[in-house]
Every structure is written in structure tokens, then in C-alpha cells.
């Protein structure tokens, strides 16, 4: 059963469309990687899924976000509050700024439980200790009365995961959760996320710009560029035989792909800024395969197996 189905989502700031034609699918227990560079719109898309866009600045102009079959877009704010934290949870990049610095960790976890489920203090405390143990924090009973600044960076990220999962949501949106962490700590946190997926049947949307993280943790991925999804499908297909020129270029410009000290095949130019997106295919000014037809916007179409690609030349996928 599809847990999450996003169709034709578009987000605008004033008159300018920042994100368009977003189509995503996620099943229970699946890990979807949302990959893109800055300006790709991946963070805005995640916020939109939880209807957390800054009021008065950004808004959803089109499309549907169906969670467990129910469209979240037309819901009232009061109804959304029952969804957030309960059916879908979110963790962020910087654990320092996303945990309340003057509230004990245990209280922050318990708050969610008491607010949404009306649990008693004792029950909420038990759940908090249990969650801290599940996320791998040693001595959970002792640590629930600690403040965030008493934890190290990795511990804080684990605590944030515990807070997000307090009311047992089926879907976790992780917005660059390991980008600010050291590589050894990142490995621990990623392992934790996969562990939680196995134990709790959690589905995860993992937003990142790191293709290595995607390769090791995700089942499928969606590559975004300048507010559109360029390619989407099972990770093995996309990483081994990318069909979209942007995916291919992204893989090729990684330092590991060329011989040491050789020039990397870099993508010329830079990603476009919102408001000045190119006509037609947004990648065509930087694309090695661009031609006249690229001035027409390519639709996101199936290209064999479970893969979808938005490119006029996508028909035969080339090996990376």
C-alpha cells in the first residue's frame, strides 16, 4: 500500500514558481533519497509535505500530498496539527538549533506524547526512556533529565530522532540529518535510521546532497534540479545506469570517479536561481546533450522498470 503519494505539487513565492510537477511515491518501510544541490527545492518540498511553509511567503499552488490515502493539502491548520508528529515526523540538519535549549530532553519527548495522546506524566516518561534506548543513547533513564547542550553532536541528533518518533509516526522526513556531523558520527546515525526502519517499519524520506549516503541507505531516489524532479527510480538503476544527463554528470564529477590528480569532468556554469529559471528543460544550458528541442519542457515519463526521467533523450539509458 502506498504510504505517501505526491502528485503534481507546485510551490510558489509571490508570482514565481519555485518548485513544480513534483511526483513522488513511497511505500511502507521504504527509504527514498531526495537528492539535489542548493536551489533544487528539496528542502521546500519537504516542508510542503508537512505543510510547514512560512506563511505569507511560500504557498502550495497546485497538487496533492496523499498520506495513507488522505490528501493533506486542503486540510485546515487544526487538522494538520493532528497529523504532524503523529503520522509524519521530521528531523533537521542542525540539532543545535532544532532542540529547545532550555528544556530537558526527556521533557521534549514527553511533551509530544502528552500533547497528542493525552498520556499521563508517568507513561510519557516511560516512553521517553524507551525511545532514548531505541536511539542508542546509553543510560537513558539518567539522560532524560539532561539538557541538549550536555549532549554531543551525534547524541543530539539521536535525541532529535527520538523526539520526532515520540508518537510513532509511520513516515519520517529527514532533512540533511547528517550533513553537519563528522563522518564517523554520520555513519552511526545512518545506521540508526536503517535500524529503526527495520524494527519499526518506518518509511524515510532522506534529503541529502551526498550521493554516498544515498547509495548506502536508500532504496530509491529522486534527483531534483531547479525545482523539478529530473529522474526518479530504484537506486541501483539510477546509480549504475543514469538516464538523465544531470544525474550522470553529478556522478561523474565526484572526486572518486576520476583518477587521482586528473581533472574532474565538472558541470560548467552554476545552478539557476529562483525567478530566473531557463525556458523548457531547466538543465539544458549546462547539459552536454542539449539541442533545440530542449526549449520545450520534457515531461517526467516512465523509462523502463520503475524509473521515470524528464529528458527528451532519455530513451536508451547509458551505463555510467
Amino acid at each position: 500500500m502506498s504510504l505517501l503519494a505526491v502528485r503534481d505539487l507546485a510551490i510558489a513565492a509571490g508570482r514565481h514558481l519555485l518548485v513544480e510537477d513534483i511526483d513522488l511515491d513511497l511505500s511502507e518501510g521504504e527509504v527514498l533519497g531526495l537528492v539535489g544541490e542548493s536551489g533544487s527545492g528539496k528542502t521546500i518540498t519537504c516542508r510542503a509535505l508537512m505543510r510547514l511553509l512560512p506563511e505569507g511567503q511560500l504557498r502550495i499552488t497546485r497538487g496533492s500530498v496523499a498520506l495513507n490515502g488522505r490528501d493533506l493539502v486542503p486540510l485546515s491548520e487544526a487538522a494538520m496539527r493532528k497529523v504532524r508528529g503523529v503520522e509524519v515526523g521530521m528531523i533537521f540538519q542542525n540539532p543545535n538549533s532544532h532542540l529547545d535549549p532550555v528544556m530537558r530532553i526527556g521533557d521534549q519527548i514527553a511533551e509530544s506524547v502528552r500533547y497528542h495522546e493525552g498520556a499521563s506524566r508517568a507513561d510519557a516518561r516511560k516512553r521517553a526512556i524507551d525511545l532514548l534506548r531505541q536511539v542508542g543513547i546509553p543510560d537513558p533513564a539518567g539522560r532524560i533529565s539532561a539538557f541538549p547542550h550536555e549532549f554531543s553532536g551525534g547524541m543530539r541528533q539521536r535525541a532529535m530522532i527520538a523526539v520526532a518518533l515520540a508518537c510513532r509516526p509511520r513516515l519520517l522526513i529527514a532533512d540533511e540529518p547528517t550533513t553537519a556531523l563528522d563522518v564517523t558520527v554520520q555513519a552511526q546515525v545512518l545506521r540508526l535510521l536503517l535500524d529503526l526502519r527495520d524494527r519499526l517499519g518506518l518509511a524515510i524520506i532522506l534529503v541529502t546532497h551526498n550521493l554516498g549516503v544515498v547509495a548506502q541507505t536508500c532504496d530509491s531516489l529522486a534527483v531534483m534540479y531547479a525545482g523539478r524532479v529530473m529522474e526518479r527510480g530504484p537506486k541501483r538503476d539510477l546509480l549504475r545506469a543514469p538516464a538523465h544527463p544531470y544525474t550522470e554528470a553529478l556522478l561523474k564529477c565526484q572526486p572518486g570517479s576520476a583518477a587521482p590528480a586528473a581533472q574532474l569532468p565538472a558541470i560548467p556554469g552554476q545552478p539557476p536561481l529562483a525567478g530566473v529559471f531557463p525556458e523548457g528543460c531547466r538543465f539544458h544550458p549546462r547539459c552536454p546533450r542539449a539541442a533545440g528541442i530542449c526549449r520545450e519542457r520534457p515531461a517526467l515519463l516512465p523509462a523502463g522498470g520503475k524509473r521515470l526521467v524528464a529528458c527528451h533523450f532519455a530513451a536508451p539509458p547509458r551505463a555510467a
Binding site: A13, G14, R15, H16, L18, G56, Q57, A274, G275, V276
Partner: protein, 289 residues
């Protein structure tokens, strides 16, 4: 343009933007217009004022606002409108010079102390503490009383007392910028300390001080008017708004116009500077509109 920049601003600003006039800063425009207006009035006073501001004209004393004297006359028959116009010269000068000296002194001392650190900084902070311990007006009055009452004494007293706020403001910003990456880069490129302080750090601090000085002008004009009201600043018969208010207070019930119009002038000038301060703050990116 970032997503935020595109969606910021109210309908007036966006309207201006679509007309290609750029994001309109209403505070800046309105405030600037008011101050410019006063400046023009001050500069062209001899040509605008219908009467001599200090000449007595007893037959026409205590006339209410009317055709020949739009703002009335005072107890010496002097035209209020002309006195308000000439008063603009003094009050505007008070506001500007009364801020300029403290600004220059305070900024320099604060910058040097903040950058040098060590005992220089400690010494400055202690001096600041001493000056701040006294109420502003009390200290001003004490200094003016020691010197001769008059406009020069007022400027001297202000320079001795008013520099403190600027020094604190600039010092705080210099302390922050001292550790920023571009200052580190400048050091790594072998630039000397003076160059770094005056060419790299100060230009990045000055915006806050300029905005602060606009609000300070308001306080200085009010202080000057208060001191003149108390008889220790501008001396009669010179037309200055504070002096006019003092002279008119005996006639408040019978000839309200003598006090009211200079009072309104003070309010209008203060309002203009206040809007200008907000507008500059917005312009320099120190504040959301």
C-alpha cells in the same frame, strides 16, 4: 533573487517594484522629504520669512492666526511664522552638530578600544561607566553652568557627554568583526592593523552608528530645546523653538499659538528624523520592513 526577497514587502513596495522604481522604502522617502523640507526652509529663511524675526512690532502684538500673520504674533508683536522659520536654522544646526561631534569622538574611541583590547579597552569601559552613572541632562546642565550659557557651551557639553553611546555601539561591533573571516583574511595577507581597522572593520560597523545617530538627533534637538527653555542655551531674542516655548508659556491660555507652533515644529522635525532612521535601518539591512 532569493525566494524571500521576491515575496517581501507590502503592496505599495511591490507596486513600485513593478513600475521599475525599485523596492520603495517609504520611511526613507517620507523622512528624507521632511528633513529636506526643513533644510530648505532653514537655508532660504531670509527669503521665505515674511517678517524680521526679532524686530518688535508692538501695535500688532498678540494677534491670533490670520491673514497678515498666518501663525499669529507674540507679546512683542514678532511674527511667529518668521520666528519658526528662522528657528529652523538653529534647531537643525543643533541637531546636526550636536550629533556630529559625539559621533566622531565616540566612533574613534570605541573602534580603537575594541580593536586594541587589553588595558586600552578596560580604561575606556571604566570611563564609560563613570559618564553613564550621571543622568544625561544633569551632566549637561552642570557643564554648561560652569562654562558660559550659550550654544557653544551646549556643543562642548554634548561632545563631552554624548560620545559614550557611540563608543559602546561601535566597540561591540568591532569586537564581533575582529574575529570574522574577512578580517582574518586581511591579516593573513599582511595588512597592517590601522588599515584593517579603518578600511575593513569600520565601514562594516558604521551603518549601525548612522542609524543610531538619526534617532540621536531627535534627542539632541529636544535636549537643546529643553536647555534653551531653561535659559542656559540659546539666549533671547534669538528665535529658537525651545526659547519660544519658554517665552510663550505665560500666555498659554490667552495666546496659545505662541507655544503651540514651535512645539509642532519640534515634533515635525523629530518625526522626520525618526522616519529617516527607520528608513536607513531598512536600507542598510538592519531591520525587516
Amino acid at each position: 533573487m532569493s525566494a524571500e526577497a521576491l515575496s517581501r514587502g507590502n503592496w505599495l513596495g511591490r507596486g513600485f517594484a513593478t513600475l521599475g522604481l525599485g523596492h520603495a522604502n517609504l520611511n526613507l522617502v517620507l523622512g528624507g522629504a521632511i528633513i529636506l523640507g526643513w533644510a530648505l526652509i532653514a537655508v532660504f529663511a531670509p527669503w521665505i520669512a515674511p517678517y524680521d524675526p526679532i524686530a518688535h512690532n508692538l501695535p500688532e502684538k498678540l494677534l491670533g492666526p490670520g491673514l497678515s500673520h498666518p501663525l499669529g504674533t507674540d507679546n512683542f508683536g514678532r511674527d511667529i511664522l518668521s520666528r519658526v522659520i528662522y528657528g529652523a536654522r538653529i534647531d537643525l544646526q543643533m541637531g546636526i552638530l550636536g550629533v556630529l561631534f559625539p559621533f566622531l569622538i565616540g566612533t574613534t574611541l570605541g573602534a580603537v578600544a575594541g580593536y586594541a583590547g587589553g588595558w586600552v579597552d578596560i580604561l575606556l569601559m571604566r570611563i564609560l561607566d563613570v559618564v553613564l552613572a550621571f543622568p544625561f541632562l544633569v551632566l549637561m546642565l552642570a557643564i554648561i553652568a560652569i562654562l558660559q550659557p550659550g550654544l557653544t557651551s551646549f556643543y562642548i557639553a554634548l561632545a563631552l557627554v554624548g560620545w559614550v553611546s557611540y563608543a559602546r555601539l561601535v566597540r561591540a561591533q568591532v569586537l564581533v568583526l575582529k574575529t570574522s573571516d574577512f578580517v582574518l583574511a586581511a591579516r593573513s595577507l599582511g595588512f597592517g592593523r590601522l588599515r584593517i581597522l579603518f578600511r575593513h572593520i569600520l565601514p562594516n560597523c558604521i551603518a549601525g552608528s548612522i542609524v543610531f545617530s538619526m534617532s540621536d538627533v531627535v534627542l539632541v534637538v529636544l535636549a537643546g530645546s529643553s536647555i534653551s527653555y531653561l535659559g542656559l542655551g540659546v539666549q533671547p531674542p534669538t528665535a529658537e523653538w525651545g526659547v519660544m516655548i519658554a517665552e510663550g508659556q505665560n500666555f498659554i491660555t490667552t495666546a496659545w499659538w505662541i507655544t503651540t507652533f514651535p512645539g509642532l515644529a519640534i515634533v515635525l522635525m523629530a518625526f522626520g528624523f525618526s522616519l529617516l532612521a527607520d528608513g536607513l535601518a531598512e536600507r542598510f539591512g538592519l531591520r525587516q520592513p
